[in-house]
Subunit: 106 residues, 2 copies
Amino acid sequence: MDIQLKRGMLDVCVLAAIKDGESYGYKIIKDMSPYITLSESTLYTILKRLENAQMLTVRSAEHGGRLRKYYQITNKGRERIEEFKSEWREVMVMYQFVSKEDSGYD
Amino acid sequence: MDIQLKRGMLDVCVLAAIKDGESYGYKIIKDMSPYITLSESTLYTILKRLENAQMLTVRSAEHGGRLRKYYQITNKGRERIEEFKSEWREVMVMYQFVSKEDSGYD
DNA sequence: ACACAATACTTCGTGATATGATGTATTACA
DNA sequence: TGTAATACATCATATCACGAAGTATTGTGT
């Protein structure tokens, strides 16, 4: 899939992946993999960005000797998801502009 | 609208704007403006990119003392539109991933 | 005659960001 | 003993939308 087309959607997808309960990096990738492919470097970049934007909070916890970072969505994060849904209408306008056939009229 | 969300769509929108007949920069912006807003700098960047990718051809012609560049879509450009439509399915998968409500199960 | 809007295209710098490559470290398993 | 899986981090790179600024002409209002 075209990288550019994913832009602006991945952030929100990651938020959606944790909206029903906290999760951690590796699990997020696994959970999303049937629907969306993203590399580890991409995910951790996004998580950091969302943390800076206060759309999620992080807590570190040990699990089986390994350190894990658990991510939890904030209200701001949920608002971002709603905002995205609103913007989606404009995206559909663009899609329809592309996919509409020539009517023959003008 | 979020800039990032437009990415990967604008190129195809411009191709769509000329798919029913050749046009020129200024007119393309006017034609698209009810649906999609894009600045001149963005458009001419895109036109140059599409030309390099051989998705459109250009001819210069004088019109009312002013120089105009007329852009015409190529087969490769039309193929790009079709390719985009295919990729759209994956975009919708991402959108549904974001917009789906928690089922309560799992 | 003068100012200003509209038409038409160009170039430059900037910020955002998805990704591959690479690295570190532990656990599980064959 | 080695390899895969788990888990997170950093860096450099390429792509790209946009504002700002510039050039030049035509049309219009006063």
